[in-house]
Symmetry: C2
């Protein structure tokens, strides 16, 4: 059997009972992290523009956009969820293929589950299978595919959305083969878009396109049978080198959800070891905002390539400044969403420490590491060596740290009480009779009732 058909059969036939408990828990963690990102990003201008522009083309508004008052057809809602959950670059990452895997799959699934009644168990199974399909396709073409310039989140994501939605639609194996083909032939997204809104468009469009692929396949819209492995299929066309065995090896035994990681800080990941170490120093020594006289960093050379900005005035620049990361860690003892605003970058305490920091690229320091030396106003010199940065596979965020991350983003959109309810709902998603309960809880209360043009949740299947 071809890789496409093996994958199609696996996604079609697997039951939730076949999924180990630890993988199910990793799925919950991925959902919690995703929802925090989607809600946190839901007010970003990219989402505003996309809804304003494409809303007038929406079909019957049977789906809620996560974190927003607007309802759209589920295809457009998938797009918006994908943009919001990725737009701050804060969603999950699988280091083995550098994709951000949850956004394309969950964006489509929450949209589907908003417009159609889906139980938590069915949702979880579809999510786990879509994630696995997408990540295995990515593994097969990584690194040649990514190195060539493809944004692997978009290109592999469409396979995840197609198979996950396809599973909820109850596709046959043959239909799933077509859905994978229709996904393959829509796999797109260029790294040239990094730094623009179009980057976040990628997981959104892959969610939407995968959803379309599954719908069409169910109705008998045919596609090539060898979308992945054919001589002119996804792997051969979009990767100079690939290994198809990574799609099928130990399928149903190994799960890439176990290889998923979560960013603890909303900024360039190469800054994370430095921030992590600076927060530790802050906490261990209860540093006052004016305690630091100078900072000396030894970091991986890549940090100097990507994040060597010191004279900055904008929050967005802070995300790519290792000096700013060190400064907020030492001065504020944290590096959350509020620490990457224009205000934070211009905070006098933060600014002073940032301007008294130096950094050197050191080939003996890995990208997971940082060597930090801090000179205090009282003359003491503190040092810290971070060997494994927080959030790495070797030092994953705890469930409670994921909650804190969720809160840090969620306060942008929701009052505390509603935020805590939403977090709790996400953790027990597989117990819900109707996943729309989570979707509805993501919408800010003020806009829930009485906002003009809103369709009430009760009318969704009307």
């Amino acid at each position: 059997m071809s890789e496409t058909r093996i994958l199609a059969s696996y996604v079609t036939d697997t039951r939730l009972e076949d999924i180990p408990q630890d993988v199910r828990h990793e799925a919950r963690r991925a959902i919690v992290n995703f929802m925090g990102c989607a809600v946190g990003g839901s007010a970003h201008p990219a989402v505003d523009i996309a809804i304003r522009t494409l809303g007038p083309f929406s079909g019957p508004p049977t789906a809620t956009v996560l974190g927003r008052s607007e309802r759209l057809d589920p295809l457009h809602a998938s797009l918006m969820n994908g943009i919001s959950s990725h737009v701050y670059d804060y969603d999950d990452t699988t280091p083995k293929n550098y994709s951000h895997p949850t956004s394309p799959v969950a964006s489509a699934l929450f949209s589907y589950a908003s417009a159609n009644r889906v139980s938590g168990r069915d949702f979880m199974l579809a999510f786990i299978l879509g994630f696995e399909a997408e990540s295995r396709v990515a593994n097969a073409v990584y690194p040649a595919h990514y190195d060539a310039g493809w944004h692997i989140t978009g290109t592999s994501g469409v396979f995840g959305a197609a198979t996950a939605v396809g599973r909820l639609l109850g596709l046959s194996v043959q239909q799933m083969v077509w859905a994978i083909g229709l996904a393959a032939t829509q796999a797109a997204g260029l790294r040239e878009m990094f730094g623009s809104m179009a980057k976040s468009f990628h997981p959104g469009r892959s969610a939407q396109n995968g959803y379309v692929a599954a719908l069409l396949a169910k109705e008998g819209f045919t596609a090539g049978e060898h979308g992945i492995e054919g001589p002119r299929g996804f792997a051969a066309v979009q990767a100079a080198a690939y290994d198809l065995s990574k799609i099928t090896a130990r399928l149903g035994v190994d799960f890439d959800l176990r290889a998923n990681t979560y960013k603890p800080f909303p900024c360039g990941i190469v800054n994370h070891p430095t921030i992590d170490g600076c927060i530790q120093l802050h906490d261990e020594h209860r540093l006052a905002p004016d305690a630091v006289r100078a900072v000396r960093l030894r970091v991986a050379p890549l940090v100097m390539d990507l994040c060597n900005q010191q004279n900055i005035t904008k929050g967005l620049q802070g995300k790519f400044s290792v000096y700013h990361g060190a400064a907020v860690g030492l001065v504020r003892g944290r590096a959350g969403m509020k620490d990457y605003t224009d205000e934070a970058v211009n905070d006098p305490h933060v600014k002073r420490v940032r301007e008294h920091a130096t950094a050197v690229g050191d080939p003996s320091v890995t990208e997971d590491q940082a060597r930090i030396e801090v000179e205090l106003a009282d003359g003491r010199v503190l040092t810290k060596f971070v060997e494994q940065s927080l959030g790495n596979l070797g030092r994953p965020l705890s469930d409670r740290q994921l909650d804190d991350k969720f809160r840090d983003q969620g306060v942008l959109a929701l009052p505390d009480e509603d935020l805590e309810s939403l977090i709790k709902l996400c953790w027990r998603i597989d117990d819900l009779d109707d996943v729309n309960e989570v979707v509805a809880a993501s919408v800010p209360r003020a806009t829930k009732a009485g906002a003009p043009g809103l369709v009430t949740p009760a009318s969704r299947r009307a």
Copy 2:
């Protein structure tokens, strides 16, 4: 200036007065051929399935699908127009890059012009510029891009649709740069889909995606500035070798519409020289249906690779049988849509000649040529050497032959009188105050009035 920006400026700033008259006439020819294909393909099952599946997700139905009673939002209508106009593989081809260039551009433009008032002059200008942009992008990456397995019609088509719709939307140069970026990052379509419905999905999706790119760019949704030429842009990522100078060289002087060709027969193009010669023999010798005893063909070796099927029973097989092409040419004196049905393939006269035909691949015969020898029942032997097949650049279809081709397809959907009106409207498209007149004329009369759920043309801007 970068290639992306040069192209964006050209598409933004050019006036219809800058376009030579012969190019404008070639544009009319492309539109006539496109409309015949769209109307002829409008009842294909691929279109039925796509409308049935995605219609429920359509926004306000302000656009007419060409040749159909259904109205959809213009994005979905673009998709449907792209499927119908390509599904019989009968649309135009630019041999210099093997793309089918009109479908993505015109599918989006007719949809836009159905939902918004567009004059014929504005329509023609947008079409010519979109065609040129798309074809130049294709030239830059051809042949490496096509050889790698990309369906260049889909990948280049999205640039055409984005720039053409962007022109009608009045994008600024900066917005056009973003539209091109958003097109680049959606460029998709694999040749692995050939032989399935997904092939016709490619021009449809590129029309729809290009339209979306233009809409978003107009509202300030940003994209990378170097979508085409950037180190991780379309050319570098999607072609092993490319020549960006083909995008900008003699821009505004040379026009690829002059290099466009039209298939005279709805079948594999390698069969065309044989069919052409056989029709000539039929006409020159007024052959009766039972006149032929045997046929001996010498053809390019590629014909034997692709079209060496003799024992066939289905119309679709006939499209890839050089023997069937010879038989209908000799027996019926034509090779139109009606000659590639199951009925035609099983016609006893056609079947007998097909079964008495032999073919040999001959490296001295080019793919534009055929050597034909026909033995008649009365003992005479006729020969014909076709040096340049009808429809090639060296022997283009005349305007009247394009009309005949239109009629051959259009009778599948429209009564004769309506067909003649539609053909006339297409030829004088640049004189129309409102291009929707053409769109409305493509809809079969029986379904125009009173069909349930239809929105009348008058309500389109309501």
